[in-house]
Symmetry: C2
């Protein structure tokens, strides 16, 4: 490995002078700078970031922990994050937690070991508070995305869940639906909880009775949708929902698959809406009516906030950026 000393020797200067050239110190004679730059080029010298980090205390490394890149929402988010990071001279290490607290914990520890400059995290749930503590203890700035954590005050970029639920429910009501079932995630995941509370609140405001039997919570990873759909369909005919509001794209896909097993047609027999497009590319037969969140912005703005936090004075901030969604009406919903 070639070091700063090799360059120094070749250019007949001290290592310190080379260091100054690398770091664009102004106090360098043009002549020496040229000489050094020539040596750098000839030796193909690239400074060792680990060595620099040891002194500078920064790594220009950011960590992004999401649950699964394979989910189009997170795919776009990751792209937005990388774009902003790159634009600001940072690079991003990415990890998939798979909604698993232990995996998340391990990833956070190794991120700390790397002394990353900051972390963008979609926490697995409220239990992530424990993992977050690791970050705080080591003074690593972080911004939460998509989900917050009960009892944790910090910067976050989240969706405007209430409003989005409002749009989705309004759409169903306009189509004449009053029997609206809900499939959501565990209530220790903030956005799932928020969407559930919004569901209850909005229905009540609309004068629609909320039925416990229409509210189902599934694991986000192992979907349980077969079981949920079975239960819904086993209700007496007049108690069956005419529409299904699903708070997550993956859950929605599975729910529709389960419906198909029972030969229930969407939207003829039941209307379905959900959060987030399951398809990233404009499809040819777009099917699902969704509330699409600006996933790319989640990542972009998240990293932006994070970098501001890293580079700005480190007052412990707790800003929340709430992004709104867009209702896209397609063919999974129909007039009752």
């Amino acid at each position: 490995m070639i070091t700063i000393y090799d360059v120094a020797k070749k250019a007949n200067v001290s290592a310190m002078t080379v260091s100054r050239v690398i770091n664009n110190s102004p106090s360098i004679k043009k002549e020496t700078r040229m000489k050094v730059e020539k040596a750098i080029k000839e030796l193909d010298y690239i400074p060792n970031r680990s060595a620099r980090s040891l002194i500078s205390k920064d790594t220009k490394l950011l960590s992004l922990i999401i649950t699964d890149v394979t989910n189009p929402f997170f795919t776009s988010l990751a792209r937005g994050a990388e774009d902003k990071a790159n634009e600001s001279g940072y690079q991003v290490v990415f990890s998939n937690s798979d909604e698993n607290l232990e995996k998340e914990s391990a990833y956070i520890r190794s991120a700390v070991a790397r002394r990353i400059d900051g972390m963008l995290l979609a926490p697995t749930g409220d239990a992530s508070a424990k993992n977050i503590k690791t970050l705080s203890k080591h003074h690593i700035p972080f911004v939460l995305i998509d989900r917050t954590i009960e009892g944790v005050q910090c910067d976050a970029v989240v969706g405007d869940n209430f409003n989005t639920m409002q749009k989705l429910i309004d759409h169903l009501i306009q189509l004449g639906h009053k029997k609206i079932a809900l499939i959501t995630g565990p209530s220790n995941v903030s956005n799932m909880k928020e969407r559930e509370l919004a569901y209850i609140h909005i229905l009540q405001s609309a004068g629609i009775a909320v039925e416990e039997k229409w509210i189902h919570r599934s694991d986000l990873k192992n979907t349980r949708s077969d079981e949920i759909i079975d239960r819904l369909l086993s209700l007496p005919k007049n108690e069956r929902p005419t529409s299904l509001l699903v708070t997550n794209n993956f859950l929605a896909v599975d729910a529709i698959k389960s419906l198909r097993k029972h030969c229930i047609k969407v939207p003829e027999d039941i209307s379905v809406v959900c959060f987030d497009d399951p398809e990233p590319i404009p499809d040819f037969n777009p099917f699902l009516t969704v509330a699409a969140q600006p996933a790319y912005e989640f990542g972009f703005k998240g990293i932006q906030m994070l970098i501001e936090k890293i580079e700005g004075k480190d007052e412990p901030s707790s800003r929340t950026l709430r992004l709104s969604s867009e209702l896209i009406v397609r063919h999974s919903t129909a007039q009752l």
Copy 2:
């Protein structure tokens, strides 16, 4: 920041002993180990990887450069890569080159600066040879994925392009098509070139004349599909292709959009097939007939090969893993 010395002091041992505990050295008395571990826990000490890397010469960091995570093919590939890396104790820094040689170059340089242990790269094209040299000069192992580079001998995981083209063309021929147009990428991108050559070879073997006017090369990033479709449609009726073979999912999506602008129906007026699903999640109205490559495996096996190269003896190897695809017949193709 708390260091190994803080732990040493607290545990009443030398820093070296702490280091030994951290690295699971066998020659440590159980008692001292316990003492040290207690101190580590109490201080919440996490060793600094940069410092360690300075000595050990490894970073446990891998770099993944793809053209765009947002392309479902690369999304799955990235997931496979991360899974295998994680399984083996590595983490991955990911970058999107956007088919841009300069961006690729910059990413490679900063990867080298970090002294990453290895790189998995989907090169932008044959011109990437220049960038690859940076890696070789700095003795950084790399494996190419999806695309190789003219004149560069190295490990690679690629698709079996010939066979895949065979499947696609056979399918079209079986449906009665003989006028098969090709939309592919620039010929300095290896897989695009291979697919084009395969197209020519396979058609000739099938006794079908190859028409230059049916072969079109588009940029991969700015798609030019409107122009290409215009040209194809401006041909005299009897010279118009009855089917379209597109060598890339994004190109195919754009081509179909362009066709729609002209009110040309797929598959009624023209059949379309392509490489790779544009949709990662099983869709409800799957439309495109595709040859799906095992994207996840590309990433998983790629990282596996890379790690073998890193950890094995560093003989300069040049293995090529060729993965085959699966033809999925859907609704974008019809009997002529």
